[in-house]
């Protein structure tokens, strides 16, 4: 290949890696160091840049495991800018968009489709996509849980509705006694307490407040209707009202479990130590069955400084990702040791505290002689500033040029000024790759992707990986997770 083409390929690869990293960790919410507005501006720019320059690859990133916020954004951007595309492109994008909408949680998918209306995107193609999306859903259930959204969507896209659905959505629940059992229950719930407990939790909650049912009574009786994630989320509220909500912690997703654990005080965690520890291990094992990972001698350098408390929009998320990664790597490695920034006897009792000194635990990890070092940190090390980057650079240049030890930096925080997760090392011939991560259970996927992030793999390999993922993504009719957007 001519040198120019080589450079183009390299730049494309770098841009794509940058975009994938950013889309893995950015949710447009406030972080510790940058606020929500900076985040939004940065991620908007990235979307526009990648869509403008590499449209086909941009569409394919829908299959690459970007987070829900960005998936919805890509869907909207693709559909809003589809003028002048060839039939082939439209068809491919249509398939990807349909699969993406199926994979999103319902509220996000609805909001994305409603955003199209605000962007002025109409026409046959948009209507066809909406019809296909709605055809794959249980509309009676959505009619009572996402009533306004469904109604607006149906209205704007002229979707024909079967049976009593049209009447229920547009004329309201008061109209008549319904034949459909779910609608009838919803109507009766406005007059009788008993009917409330047959509705899903989010719908029942509002009705119970209207009928002035005591919170404790309500929670106790709605328990059978709660989904697993709702049970986890309501643990704190239930404890305050002296209601016990059984939840199988071992079946909760790893990062959600870690967030729940961190929301308890250290004293409360100590009381339930055995249960929480077992749950973390079980959840990590479940994540590994979904995405297998087998490692040898692994050291993890984990950040528990004060900046891992993030912001009110996503409290303690970086620390939860670190805790989840710790549990996952412990299960996935033959030999494993964790090195925290502030040494702790028991990772179960950690709180965000202290300065970010990554250099010391990194040096300790390297002297243990592992095959792989995973650094989980937001990249803002300040004791000394840039210490970890220098350690990596000098280690690679002078002490281990043969690369017996691999180092990977996992970053759960999007730094708006840097248009991506902040890198530890920016200089040197082979800098440590920085990868964005939102959920600890995605760690195996992200580690597999690390080969591309350090620039050693050609663009062709990345494109092939994406193509394979697209096939799998489009082929699955994966039902969405039943919960709303996570913090």
């Amino acid at each position: 290949m001519a040198p120019f083409a080589d450079n183009v390929a390299r730049v494309t690869c770098e841009d794509l890696v940058l975009f994938l990293n950013a889309c893995a960790c950015c949710t447009g919410q406030r972080e510790f160091y940058s606020d929500g507005r900076d985040q939004s501006v940065s991620i908007e720019f990235l979307h526009e840049y990648i869509r403008g320059n590499y449209r086909r690859l941009y569409a394919r990133t829908l299959a690459a495991g970007v987070n829900h916020f960005n998936r919805a954004k890509i869907v909207v951007e693709l559909l809003a800018s589809s003028r002048g595309l060839s039939l082939e492109q439209r068809r491919e994008e249509g398939r990807l968009v349909a699969a993406a909408l199926r994979s999103l949680p319902a509220p996000r998918a609805y909001r994305a489709l409603l955003a199209l209306r605000r962007r002025g995107v109409g026409g046959r193609r948009a209507r066809a996509i909406v019809r296909e999306f709605l055809a794959g859903r249980d509309l009676r259930f959505d009619a009572i849980k996402y009533r306004t959204k469904l109604r607006d969507l149906v209205l704007h896209n002229h979707v024909p509705l079967p049976g009593e659905l049209g009447g229920f959505l547009f004329k309201g629940w008061r109209e008549r006694r319904y034949q459909t059992p779910l609608f009838e229950t919803f109507r009766r719930a406005h007059y009788s307490d008993e009917a409330i407990y047959e509705l899903p939790y989010t719908v029942a909650e509002g009705l119970a407040a209207r009928r002035k049912i005591a919170r404790a009574t309500f929670l106790a009786r709605i328990t059978p209707r709660l989904t697993a994630l709702e049970r986890l989320r309501l643990q704190g509220a239930a404890a305050r009202d002296d209601v016990s909500l059984d939840v199988d912690l071992g079946r909760a997703p790893l990062t959600r479990l870690a967030l729940y654990l961190l929301s308890l005080s250290p004293a409360a965690r100590l009381e339930r130590e055995a249960e929480l520890r077992a749950a973390l291990a079980a959840s990590a094992r479940r994540a590994l069955t979904a995405a297998p990972l087998a490692l040898g001698r692994v050291a993890a350098v984990l950040d528990r400084s004060y900046s891992t408390s993030a912001s009110r929009d996503k409290p303690r998320r970086p620390l939860a990702v670190a805790l989840g990664a710790d549990a996952l790597l412990r299960e996935a490695s033959a030999e494993y040791r964790a090195f925290w920034t502030a040494p702790t006897d028991d990772p179960l009792l950690i709180t965000p505290r202290g300065q970010t000194d990554l250099a010391t635990p990194l040096l300790d990890a390297l002297s243990w002689g592992p095959e792989l070092v995973v650094i989980v940190s937001d990249g803002f090390d300040n004791d000394p500033a840039g210490g970890a980057g220098e350690v990596c650079r000098v280690f690679r240049a002078r002490i281990d040029p043969g690369r017996r030890t691999s180092i990977v930096h996992i970053n759960p925080v999007f730094d708006a000024p840097e248009l991506g997760p902040r890198r530890l090392q920016t200089e040197g011939p082979a800098p440590v790759p920085t990868l964005g991560l939102r959920d600890a259970e995605d760690l195996p996927t992200v580690l597999a992707f690390a080969r591309f992030a350090d620039g050693s793999m050609p663009l062709a390999a990345l494109e092939e990986l994406l193509a394979r993922r697209v096939e799998r993504f489009v082929g699955e009719a994966r039902p969405a997770a039943e919960e709303g957007p996570a913090p």
């Binding site: 510790f32 160091y33 400084s305 004060y306 900046s307 502030a342 505290r353 202290g354 300065q355 970010t356 250099a359 010391t360 040096l363 390297l366 002297s367 300040n382 004791d383 000394p384 500033a385 840039g386 210490g387 980057g389 220098e390 350690v391 650079r393 000098v394 280690f395 240049a397 002078r398 002490i399």
Partner: protein, 383 residues
């Protein structure tokens, strides 16, 4: 006022650690090498304009200091080195019911002993009062230039202005995003790499409680302007010379050297406070601790700071707060000093300053002391 003792303000017992910069504000943490619990500091909210009676009765003071006081510090100590007993929420003033807030708070004395082992002091106002009371008595000889008011009531009223922490752009964000070290008991605040304040407390737990209270302090005019003019400061990332390192131990030593460089940085950047000779006045003695306040040399062409400190008998700095005087404030105090040194004889003072009498009168008027001079003299001065 006395301010006769001359000594340096030394960060004895404290070690600077790596700074964290956010925007134009750089905070250098100070770690205490040996933490003892026989002196503890707590804050009590006041949040009201306060009239502090310095002399005379509380209700009818002969000499008063007036300012907006956000909080008072209560210092508790034991003389024998045993740890101070925790008192929890008992920092509330028992005489002041919490829901009756007066328009103007009346306080008796800048520092007041409330219990055998508790001293209430108004932080930073203690130092400011010392500065304002410099030569406050005014002329004691009835030279012809002075007005009747000057001869009767001295320099009263002596007024200075400062910028509250809330007005320092970026300070709140810098304090919010600062990661407090384990064992940290103080910090140096630099705005655009100019020393704004020194803040030291006796115990790390006290520091964690009081870290955000820095926003309630007041800062010098220069700091306010620098915070508006500058958006960021240079980041001091550590650099390791790769050629000099051949193994992990060498790398570890190189990183440790990078961390230790902060001691030199601090000494250089804070030389206005640490290397300059200060003039001290003792305010209170409690067990092995001395509460003192200081004023710098007040030379107009140098950095000038005022402050207060609690120093242990063995020399360790337990508590400190400083304030950076603006150039105008330093000039005012310097003028007063030179005139007082000449026994308030303006002609002699003008000679000592190597300027004419008219020049000195103009300087006095421009500094804001026109009210000391007779009307016809003021009017006779050229603009």
């Amino acid at each position: 006022m006395n301010f006769r003792e001359r000594a340096h303000l030394a960060l004895t017992g404290l070690r600077p650690a790596s700074a964290q910069a956010f925007g134009a504000v750089r905070l250098v943490p100070l770690l205490r090498e040996e933490v003892r619990s026989d002196l503890r500091l707590g804050a009590r909210a006041v949040e009201a304009p306060t009239l502090v009676g310095l002399r005379g009765e509380v209700q009818a003071p002969q000499l008063a200091y007036y300012s907006y006081v956000p909080h008072a510090f209560v210092m508790r100590w034991t003389s024998d080195g045993s740890p101070v007993a925790a008192r929890g929420a008992a920092l509330e003033d028992p005489r002041r019911p919490p829901n009756k807030r007066p328009w103007v708070e009346l306080m008796h004395r800048m520092r007041k002993r409330e219990a055998p082992d508790a001293l209430r002091l108004l932080p930073l106002h203690l130092a400011m009062e010392g500065y304002l009371s410099l030569h406050f008595g005014g002329p004691d000889v009835a030279w012809s230039e002075y007005s009747r008011e000057a001869l009767r009531s001295g320099l009263s009223p002596r007024i200075e202005r400062a910028a509250s922490g809330a007005m320092i752009a970026g300070l709140d964000d810098a304090l919010r995003t600062f990661e407090v070290h384990e064992g940290q008991t103080g910090c140096l605040v630099f705005v655009a790499d100019a020393l704004a304040a020194v803040f030291v407390v006796p115990h790390p737990d006290d520091y964690r409680a009081l870290h955000r209270s820095l926003i309630h302090d007041f800062f010098g005019d220069l700091i306010y302007q620098y915070a508006l003019c500058y958006h960021d400061v240079q980041e001091h990332a550590v650099r390791v010379d790769a050629a000099a390192v051949s193994d992990l131990e060498g790398l570890r030593a190189a990183i440790a050297r990078g961390r230790a460089d902060w001691r030199e940085f601090t000494a250089a950047m804070a030389s206005g406070v640490l290397a300059a000779p200060m003039r001290w006045e003792e305010v209170y003695r409690a067990g092995p601790f001395r509460l003192r306040r200081f004023v710098s040399s007040l030379r107009p062409d140098e950095e000038n700071h005022i402050g207060e400190a609690i120093v242990r008998d063995s020399g360790e700095l337990e508590y400190c707060k400083t304030f950076r005087l603006s150039a105008a404030q330093a000039r005012r105090a310097y003028l007063l000093e030179r005139i007082a040194a000449a026994d308030w004889d303006l002609r002699a003072a003008a000679d000592s300053l190597a300027c004419s009498l008219d020049d000195l009168l103009i300087r006095l008027r421009n500094a804001g002391f026109g009210y000391l001079l007779k009307d016809h003299i003021l009017r006779g001065l050229p603009r």
